[in-house]
Amino acid sequence: MKRLLCVFLLVMVGSFFLAGTAFAEISFFGTAKIKPTWYSNFDFNNDKNDALIVNEAGLTKGQHVRAELRLGWKASGEKWKVMMIAEVDSIMEKDNADRSFYVLAADDNGKERQPNTGAEFGIERCEFTYSFLPQLELESGWNIRFLDIKTGGLLYGDDHPFVGFRGKITDSTNYEVLYIPIQNRIALKSEGPFDDKDHNDWEVYTAKLNYSFGKMEDTPPDSPFYANRSFGLTVSPFFAYSDNNSWNCDLQYYGLEVTGQTGPIKPYFEIVLNHGDFDDNRDIKSWAMFGGVELPVNKAFNPYVAFRFTQGDDDSSDNDVEGWVGITDIGRFTGLLGMDGNILGEDLGQSYGATLYSYSPERALSTNRYGGISNNGSGDNPGQKLLAIGSRGDLSGILQGLLYKTQAFFIWYDETDNLTNAKDPGKKVDDYAGTTVDVQLLYAFSKNFSIDYIFSTFIPGKGQEDVQDANDPAFVNMLTMAWSY
């Protein structure tokens, strides 16, 4: 694998020499998002303080205002492209606004302070490409890459660093292969758990093929029920190999994704299986699937229904690790069920076990970890059966510029044997984990400025009540003022 990486790097360097001194088109773009937010009761217990909650701006809880400020620029020539985005993403307060360094490096107790508390611009995302042929384009950087974000987001979607190739084989077929070094860490000390140079590495290799067929262009966009002759699908087999030295395991993922349109219906389908083992011969074997349909009725009413499944583990003490853990569960940003700030996509690690971005409860336990966000997903997790109903639409008939999305998730555990019943010790935990309700309203004042509000709640079911010995609803109230240009 190291040799392969060297080849990648050499090709990338060579490609920039080949690009020569061609003239470039340069453009700037950016976004500024200010998000007054209130997280409430993420532990489902009114009588206790919430533990810390992580979001993109850092650690927080309760009321806060998050600022995500981005400035991007891109340059391109005939065959090459370069893009970089600088970002500050912080919880707004005086120490990280207009500050960069504090002189006092110790507090009153002599404890060392973080010397640099300012929020500085850094490269949040970047991407570099060179197209040798339509069939062969070199790509690198750290930017959004995904395998299944258009459907369930069960396996991978993130902005990890990558080196890879993609290309268009025919008009209807394209591919992408990636090397993704998620972790490449060595110990700062000569002793300790990470003293081996490979010990804390986590590298992922992915491949995806997209094949489209049918005639999507035949769709009269205005009339879903009238003479709709469209039938167009994109079928995408994908593969990922996870070389996870950090947890001493390696495994393969095999998946298939289907999107498109059949008459008035938009189907979404995905199935993924994994198989691998830990160095001590514990077997990893699990699967997950997603299916959904959207039926546009008119511009104001586009109802959908979906089902998301991740297998749970039924016995954490045996050698079979059967709980589903992806590389990055990216449910929060998926096409049908995603929402930028609904409660299930926030960090519920302290209760339900779904952490930031993920919808599945991969952190409900902390044993037999083999992947997931920050590599902390447990293979002994209880899994998930999620039934979703929702609708989205354009309410310009009421007020021009007003848009909405609303949905409800009904969530069951797949297996509860590994969960501890805190309410009735010794008894089996109930299957029903809870219900979430999300409502999002957006008003676009112009093409460049909008305000949206999300109300989202997780009402714990009997299962969560058993685990937490509490059943108070959790809430997210989030306002987003967004400027984009």
Partner: protein, 491 residues
């Protein structure tokens, strides 16, 4: 104590007086803001000729304000009638139009407009109708016009419309010649984002005859055309709007809506249901094409024919699939056609074969109007959240190509640009040019002068022995600035 209260009252009184004086001062200073700036920037002769068709221009306080402005800057004003020729200095034209009292400052000799200010708009002669798009909707009009004949070769336009632009009260984006009410009075179809206006250009003003609204919640104007489609000697109008349907995570999806109208006695009467596609009038024939899911134009181009009292889309392809309704224009000579390429080049080819001889000329880029079409694959421009994604692409409609009765072909050349963002100012000239087919291919002729304004659209005015053009001008290329009409004759 009492003394103090009086002092407070006096202070409040003085503050109030000061605020009132400041308000009056600001109001006066802002009466003719464009004029003030233009006068201060003028380095030529300090002569200004005030041309006006007002009965008593000096009796108007607004005119007095204007004259004070000029006198304060050292100008020597002269009064003159509306048609007076001026060779030196500046010309100040004062008009009462449907949009209010308009003052236009231009450079003598070249006619270049330096400033245009308008006083409070007078009410239009007829308010906008909010009629529903139903075919049998009642139309309202305060003006009565005889059935519109086709424009005769002898038709002329008011002289002042061809000398100076006429400001419109509407943000018109497209224009078509709907007919003539008399030999000197053209009837125009003006398409705005929310309505089709039928107007009569008369005596330096525009008289609103009728308005029809498609009733779309959020949309924008795409294209209007006119021609004698059913051969009854009167022009029908084809109007197309885009309804912009949006989703929080889906972006914008422009869905075309189109209707056909008759013009009779100053009224617009729909002759079709919503045809849910793109329409184009070409050589007095009406063509239709639908939008695709991920492409702006899909399927074959079909003809629209009259079946009884209604127009309906036919089933037999006029052009095969793969053609763009607005990009191809068939020429009368055999099977040849003109094509707009995606990068705004004009190519001479055949109806069956799109490739051919390209016109070697920079015709500029016209980006409006456009339709938003969803991308098959979302682009994550700067992240995963909704503001970071690009879900659609905006596809400009190929610009208009018109053919006169004597088979001259005209199109728009974009030579004007907005300049750099924030710091730049518009520069350059747009013009209507003639495309001539020669044995070697295509050549570009420039029979009409360029204008220092964006030409949003144009229509042809047949005249005795020549073809004039009626330009729809705007300060901004997207039509969000002031709209004006200007008539040009060939050199």
């Amino acid at each position: 104590m009492k003394h103090n209260r009086h002092r407070h009252l006096l202070t409040l009184f003085l503050i109030a007086i000061g605020l009132m004086a400041a308000t009056v001062g600001v109001t006066q200073a802002e009466s003719w803001p464009g004029m003030e700036k233009a006068i201060q920037n003028w380095n030529g002769p300090r002569e200004v000729t005030l041309r006006s068709d007002l009965e008593d221009p000096l009796g108007s306080s607004e005119v007095q304000n204007l004259l004070e402005l000029f006198l304060a800057e050292g100008f020597r004003p002269t009064l003159a009638g509306p048609g007076t020729t001026v060779k030196e200095g500046l010309i100040l034209d004062l008009r009462d139009s449907a949009g209010g009292r308009v003052a236009i400052l231009s450079k003598a000799g070249t006619g270049q407009i330096l400033a245009l200010d308008r006083q409070a708009a007078r009410p239009l002669q007829k308010p906008m109708s909010d009629t529903s798009p139903a075919v049998d909707s009642a139309m309202i009009s305060t003006e009565s016009v005889e059935p519109a004949p086709l424009p005769s070769p002898a038709a002329t336009l008011p002289a002042n419309l061809s000398e100076h632009p006429l400001e419109l009260s509407w943000e018109a984006k497209q224009i078509a010649l709907a007919g003539t009410a008399s030999e000197e009075t053209p009837i125009l179809a003006l398409l705005t984002d929310d309505a089709l206006h039928l107007v009569r250009a008369e005596g330096g003003t525009v008289v609103l005859l009728d308005t029809w609204s498609p009733g779309l919640d959020s949309g924008h104007a795409l294209r209007v055309g006119a021609g004698d489609i059913d051969g009854d000697g009167k022009r029908e109008i084809a109007a197309v709007w885009a309804e912009d349907v949006k989703g929080i995570y889906q972006g914008t999806d422009s869905r075309p809506h189109a209707w056909i109208f008759s013009v009779s006695k100053g009224k617009l009467a729909p002759l079709s249901q919503d045809l849910e596609g793109f329409l184009r009038v070409m050589n007095d024939r009406l063509l239709w094409q639908r939008r695709g899911t991920y492409v702006p134009f899909a399927g074959p181009v079909l003809s629209v024919d009259r079946d009884g009292g209604k127009f309906q889309v036919g089933s037999q392809p006029v052009w095969p699939e793969g053609r763009n309704l607005y990009a191809m224009t068939t020429l009368p000579q055999g099977t040849r056609a003109l094509f707009w390429t995606d990068d705004s080049h004009l190519v001479l080819g055949s109806i069956k074969e799109q490739g051919g001889k390209e016109l070697v000329a920079d015709l500029g880029t016209v980006s409006h109007p456009s339709v938003a079409v969803p991308l098959r694959e979302t682009e994550y421009r700067s992240g995963l959240e909704k503001e970071d994604r690009i879900n659609e692409r905006n596809v400009p409609l190929p610009r208009r190509i018109l053919m006169s009765k004597d088979e001259q072909v005209f199109t728009l050349v974009r030579g004007r640009s907005e300049g750099l963002p924030l710091v730049g100012t518009p520069a350059g000239q747009d013009m209507v040019a003639e495309i001539a087919v020669v044995p070697e291919g295509l050549t570009l002729e420039r029979p009409f002068p360029g204008v220092e304004s964006f030409i949003l659209d144009f229509t042809l005015l047949p005249r005795a022995g020549r073809t004039d053009v009626l330009l729809l001008l705007n300060d901004r290329p997207d039509g969000s600035g002031k709209s004006r009409l200007l008539v040009q004759s060939p050199h």
